[in-house]
């Protein structure tokens, strides 16, 4: 047994309202640069739907993930090492930009520049790749909320798989439609096929916390990782020619903050925490013969952090004491392994994904209420789960390689929790048979309810705060002092203003915020070369660089007023200069 720690996430899909806040904040934090306009490290897709990039789940087309060969060993679906090198000059299964979408902006200038005329000027969409006018035809969530579902829905690879078994199972007519949202980030897999596909060895899994990253200095842009990832969560930056992917917000996680997507989630549906797993058994677990057993095999890898044997092994393998403590309080371990209500996404790709999902129960409850039943009584709910097979089969294709058993179990647990907690809330007599029917006891149900419904910030996000003994190397801390009196200290680099490394935005923001909070005057870092950050600008005064330097007005004859040097800028006294 070799114990390793892994940061994991659980998303409770019942709570996702599809607001895309996670996607937007993630994009603002990580991919608001040129070259990654089309990239969403976090995206929210409507299921059933095509997903982003379109039909990414169809591995017969995209050849991502692993397959088990006839000798029972794992191999990359897109081919082994030799095949990779032979196809390196033109990767035959790289998605085209249109499989994602062609990024665009609008020609806003026309709105102000257009000559007077009878027609209102329009801001035409223009491609960000070629600058040419473009007909917008697709985006990261074009089929949001089942938009165009009669047309696109049947092409959902999951729907195709279910329909292959029975034509009648999935319907897109209005009365029988169903949908739910699926937020997706990188799965930070235990057996990452993107890492295995990288010819340069630039992608790696961090030994400490299992976060999968791309070394930007070693990536050579061979693009095999994009093919290797079955979730298509590694992207190619077409400006820098390097691969980029979700980083699990490692600079935040390292200092104990949740990822941006979790932090900003409106529904508070995300949970972050540690898993301990047995690294020696990962390959064996990913190679089990029947793909329906992959979920069980993956669960089996997760080690019980309360088991003295595991604790001893973890200490031996160098896992710090506070990490073990965090692992014992991990909400993701409890949801995935103890209560078994969280399921992995597409275990059949054999990558052992570490972002887990609690499947949605809502469609079942709503359907019962619509048909005039008590949607929250246990017998009704249990019966409905079995009767309404459409969602269960669809969910099973997503989360358990098509095995409806575990999905039904989860839904029954959630139903039991609803029903039981209603009795608690209404002060009715508690029916112990309800938890028993799903293999839990009353106390467990209450605990699970607490975690799913009430848990506060520090219970949802149990993140080990410090990497003992190496705190000085943290990305967010150790970068401000390139040179004595250097950029971080408010000076310039050794060879003038443009030399030295740029100040990390976080450091600059930190200083700016501090100045703003502690000074009486204008929040102006007063550092040569400091960027103007509109987020931190308090509207007082005019930081240098906000506007281009004013042009000298030609001196008028007879103007005797001595303009002199501009007055000292002070808070609350805007001058004419400031309003220009």
């Amino acid at each position: 047994m070799r114990v390793m720690a892994q940061m994991g996430m659980v998303m409770n899909l019942d709570k996702c309202i599809g607001c895309h806040t996670c996607s937007v904040t993630c994009k603002q934090a990580w991919t608001n640069r040129s070259g990654v306009e089309y990239v969403w490290f976090n995206n929210v897709e409507t299921r059933p739907g095509l997903g982003y990039p379109r039909r990414y789940q169809d591995q017969e087309r995209w050849r991502g993930g692993w397959v088990r060969n006839r000798r029972g060993r794992l191999q990359l679906k897109a081919g082994g090492r030799f095949r990779k090198l032979l196809t390196i000059f033109a990767n035959p299964v790289l998605p085209h930009i249109r499989d994602y979408y062609e990024p665009w902006t609008y020609d806003y200038e026309t709105l102000t520049d257009a000559p007077l005329g009878d027609d209102f000027p329009v801001a035409q969409p223009k491609s960000l790749l070629s600058g040419e006018p473009l007909a917008v035809e697709w985006s990261a969530n074009w089929d949001d909320d089942l938009g165009g579902a009669p047309e696109h829905g049947p092409h959902d690879p999951v729907v195709e798989r279910i329909r292959a078994e029975s034509e009648e199972k999935v319907k897109f007519d209005y009365e029988r439609a169903f949908m739910f949202y699926l937020p997706r980030i990188c799965e930070h897999c235990l057996n990452p096929s993107c890492v295995a596909s990288c010819p340069s060895g630039a992608m790696y899994k961090r030994a400490e916390d299992g976060i999968v990253l791309v070394d930007q200095d070693r990536c050579r842009g061979w693009r095999m990782c994009v093919t290797g990832c079955p979730y298509k969560k590694v992207y190619f930056n077409h400006r820098t020619g390097k691969a980029e992917k979700c980083t699990f917000c490692y600079p935040r996680v390292e200092v104990g903050l949740p990822t941006v997507c979790s932090e900003t989630c409106v529904g508070r549906l995300r949970y972050l925490g540690l898993f301990l797993y047995d690294a020696d058994r990962v390959t064996a677990a990913a190679s089990v013969a029947d793909e329906r057993n992959l979920y069980a095999a993956q669960l089996d890898l997760l080690l019980d952090p309360d088991d003295p044997e595991v604790i001893a092994a973890a200490r031996r393998d160098g896992i710090a004491e506070d990490w073990l403590d965090h692992a014992r309080r991990s909400p993701v371990y409890r949801l995935a392994k103890e209560y078994r209500v969280a399921l992995p996404l597409h275990p059949e790709f054999r990558t052992m994904p570490m972002v887990w999902y609690i499947p949605p129960l809502s469609p079942v409850v709503d359907r019962l209420v619509e048909t005039g039943h008590d949607g929250e009584s246990a017998p009704n709910l249990f019966g409905a789960i079995d009767a309404l097979r459409i969602p269960v089969e669809y969910l099973a294709e997503l989360f358990t390689a098509g095995d409806p058993g575990p999905v039904t179990d989860v839904l029954r647990k959630l139903a039991a929790m609803r029903s039981f907690m209603r009795d608690v809330t209404l002060g009715r007599e508690l029916d112990e048979s309800v938890p028993a029917a799903v293999g839990m006891d009353a106390e467990q149900i209450m605990e699970m309810y607490r975690l799913l419904a009430l848990a506060k910030y520090d219970e949802r996000y149990v993140i080990p705060t410090a990497y003992e003994g190496e705190a000085h190397q943290l990305e967010e801390i150790g970068c401000s002092l390139d040179v004595e009196g250097g950029p971080g200290m408010g000076g310039v680099g050794p060879f003038g203003e443009a030399s030295g490394r740029p100040v990390p935005v976080s450091v600059e923001t930190f200083h700016a915020l501090r100045v703003r909070q502690t000074s009486e005057g204008v929040a102006d870092p007063g550092v040569p070369g400091a960027r103007v950050n509109l987020l931190n600008w308090d509207g007082k005064g005019r930081p240098p660089g906000l506007f281009p330097p004013p042009r000298e007005a030609p001196a008028e004859p007879g103007d005797l007023t001595d303009r002199g040097s501009p007055p000292e800028r002070t808070a609350g006294t805007p001058t004419l200069e400031d309003r220009r």
Partner: protein, 243 residues
Amino acid sequence: MSTWDLLLWGVLPYVMVAVLVGGTIWRYRYDKFGWTTRSSELYESRLLRIGSPLFHFGLLVVIIGHVIGLLIPQSWTGAVGLSPTAYHVQALVLGGIAGFCTLVGVGILVYRRRTTGPVFSATTRNDKLMYVVLVAALVAGLATTLLGATGGEHNYRETVSPWFRSLFVLQPDIASMAGAGLAFHVHTLIGMVLFAIWPFTRLVHAFTAPLGYLFRPYIVYRSRAAGGATRAPRRGWETADNR
């Protein structure tokens, strides 16, 4: 031996090597982030799928041909029973085919670069210069091959190759090279220019051909402490053991 001969075949090769080696080291140290293929496959793949393998595989064969033709002395191939005529014919046929494939490949790639909007707008001036030199080197090289096929049988293995080998022992055999034909002179000069600009263009990706992929384990683990290893710790932040 004129001064020009001395400069072109005695001095220039060493200048070129100095620029190539020095430039590569400089680029590797200061621009690892820019060290990439800068692939444009995301924008267009239909033409790339034909042109790129044609060009790259053709080029690999061309490189192997150069290595054999320049490094292996004529006496050695003679000793294994390969007559100069037979050698010449096989070099002509293989080299001609490979060179033609490479040229067609690069032709497709340049056409694609010019006609596909996003690819063209992602083309830098550096790229354009590189393409000019690269295509010129290919055309001149193919010309020497074809000239060898049509007319006066000039045996470069008695002129260019000895000169090339003599460079490595720092005793450049300038006289031999001076005796080679004009076509060979032109091709060699363009080739030297190509190698001199190599480290400063996207061509550097060839130096990091990922052959190590064949020998490493599939899953790469890296410790976070070692994770910053590609970037030197900043002054004042070294750990006690790497100070």
